[in-house]
């Protein structure tokens, strides 16, 4: 089942606490996930901790699924970092700022693995 959502990226305390340690598994744990509310997770038919493929017009990325009851319906959140930035909108809209919030995304369950930071960046080489 695919969920159509609006993606927001942003800071979290654990993302910040590991920001100077980006080769660590702690950083991956803190940033390579996607939060949805329980109702949206129900639409996907999988449980938190499973992996999801997040696709936008700008790319795709595999991250872990997490539950956040504070998200409204249809809002997905990925902490800022290389996993989120694999799918954000690069258009700077004439003012230098890419689209880090408000990106239409399609989210679906996947068996693919979450790439390590090194592997993720290697895709760009």
């Amino acid at each position: 089942m695919t969920l159509n959502a609006i993606l927001i990226t942003g800071r979290t305390i654990n993302q910040g606490a590991t920001i100077e340690n980006k080769t660590s598994s702690d950083y991956q744990e803190a940033t390579a996930y996607c939060e949805l509310n329980p109702k949206d997770i129900g639409i996907l038919g999988i449980s938190p901790g499973s992996r999801v493929l997040v696709k936008t017009d700008h790319g795709d990325v595999v991250v872990k699924l997490k539950e956040n009851t504070g998200n409204p319906d249809g809002i997905a959140f990925i902490p800022m970092g290389p996993w989120a930035n694999a799918v954000v909108d690069p258009d700077t809209k004439g003012c230098g700022m890419p689209g880090f919030k408000g990106i239409p995304a399609r989210i679906e369950p996947t068996d693919k693995k979450v790439l390590l930071m090194k592997e993720l960046i290697a895709r760009y080489k």
Binding site: I6, I8, G10, R11, T12, I13, G16, A17, T18, I19, E20, N21, K22, T23, H58, G59, N68, T69, G70, N71, P72, I75, F77, M80, G81, P82, N85, A86, V87, V88, D89, P90, D91, T92, K93, G94, C95, G96, M97, P98, G99, F100, K101, G102, M117, K118, L120, I121, A122, Y124, K125
Partner: protein, 432 residues
């Protein structure tokens, strides 16, 4: 054992100046009063030990001397027709000054991390000015605090305790009990959970909601529909009442405004609301700056070049036009043909399109830590950590300049020395 009191935190724009640092054998063994973010940075961990180089970005790095790495960095920049010097926010102002000199020498574009943070706020300030106040004024006087599109519980953990929500001051001796706290956000964040009034809006509708508040404030509630951006008119009217009747209203805003649809126009509109509120009460607005010295770069760059960021020296004189000269503009246009990334991590924090281009061009990285930028770099020059191993000036989010203290002796060259040596080498290469 040495105990350093009143040390400054080199993490976020709060620039907390009340830390206690315990040092044993030139190693930091304890950090007191800091939040999780500050403590993690100050305690530190695996550093890049020596400079490294590689020709092919898919091959392994080879350890080299500082001299070899600096010479190669100068070669790369010297051979570039359209270099980009990006980052700067995790360094002190003394580093910024050297960086701007290097940019001028190269005819480069120099841009800082505000480009993916509060640069749109600067554009809005060009249009409307910034009716603001120091955090000290907020602590001592504010009785209404608004967080709009910002989540200080996660991004600025001590802001509420030291300066805003809970802080007790001269005319705010009741602290939290004497304050109304409003949070405007798309998600019910941990900050929203602490609010007296949570305004939940639909993603990307900030401009509409600000406009509705302005209409109600100016006596035109009749033109406002029953719901704006998912917020009931009734709540908007209640919000206007709280803002109007506050004695000192302090609005803090974050990426919810700068990164959403309408970008700088959201802030432009919010500043107009603040200006109009000042007809009824005292109201100020402050951006929640991320890196501890991102504000410092804006200041140094403005007094050196006339512009706060995204400055293009290609014409020989400073030129500024975000949308054309910001880092992600030139990277996504594939215009940049070499980049130096210093005290910021473009590899982690730029969209894939920009990183894809960085992976194709020569990249020099100056940073204490291995990060995604290292993965696309050709030359890596590790440096001392500003604010931990190097003293210098930094600017708090409210524009107050403070002196960062040295906690331990550095084990690596400071950024200033690396930049000086690159500039010297560049002049030799050019026969100057």
């Amino acid at each position: 054992m040495t105990v350093i009191t009143d040390a400054l935190c080199p993490f976020c724009g709060c620039l907390c100046d009340d830390l206690t640092i315990v040092v044993e054998d030139n190693k930091i063994t304890d950090v007191k009063q800091a939040c999780k973010l500050g403590a993690a940075k100050i305690m530190g961990h695996h550093r890049i030990k020596t400079p490294m180089m590689r020709k092919d970005k898919n091959s392994e790095f080879k350890e080299v001397s500082y001299e070899e790495a600096i010479n190669e960095a100068a070669n790369i920049l010297s051979n570039s027709k359209r270099p980009l010097l990006y980052g700067w926010a995790s360094a002190v102002c003394e580093v910024h000054k050297k960086g701007i000199l290097l940019a001028e020498e190269l005819g480069a574009i120099i841009d800082n991390t505000a480009t993916v943070c509060h640069a749109p706020s600067t554009l809005a300030v060009h249009e409307k000015g910034l009716p603001s106040a120091t955090l000290g004024q907020v602590k001592n006087r504010a009785d209404v605090i608004v967080f709009w599109g910002s989540n200080p519980v996660h991004a600025h953990p001590r802001h509420m305790g030291r300066y805003s929500v809970f802080a007790k001051g001269l005319f705010s001796e009741k602290g939290r009990k004497g304050r109304k706290v409003i949070v405007v956000d798309v998600r019910k964040t941990d900050t929203a959970n602490m609010a007296d009034e949570f305004v939940q809006l639909e993603q990307g509708s900030d401009y509409l909601v600000v406009s509705a508040l302005r209409a109600i404030l100016s006596g035109h509630a009749d033109v406002v529909p029953e719901s704006v951006g998912g917020v009931p008119k009734e709540q908007l009217s209640k919000l206007v009442d709280i803002l109007k009747t506050g004695k000192f209203v302090a609005i803090f805003f974050g990426m919810g405004l700068t990164q959403s649809k309408s970008r700088y126009k959201n802030i432009d509109n919010a500043i107009s609301l603040v200006t109009e509120l000042n007809a009824f009460t005292k109201c100020v607005i402050t951006p929640m700056r991320g890196h501890y010295n991102v504000t410092g770069f804006g200041n140094v760059c403005a007094w050196e070049t006339g512009y706060a960021t995204a400055v293009d020296f290609a014409r020989g004189a400073p030129y500024y036009n975000p949308g054309e000269t910001a880092a992600n503009d030139v990277l996504t246009r594939k215009e940049t043909d070499a980049a130096m990334i210093i005290a910021g991590d473009a590899g982690a924090h730029f969209p894939a399109d920009s990183v894809r281009h960085l992976a194709k061009i020569p990249v020099v990285q100056i940073d204490p830590y291995w990060n995604p930028t290292t993965e696309v770099a050709n030359v890596v020059i590790p440096v001392a950590i500003c604010g931990v191993e190097v003293e210098g000036t930094a600017y708090r989010m409210d524009g107050v300049s403070l002196r960062m203290r040295k906690m331990v002796e550095p084990t690596h060259l400071p950024d200033t020395e690396v930049l000086e040596k690159i500039t010297e080498r560049l002049k030799i290469l050019r026969g100057e």
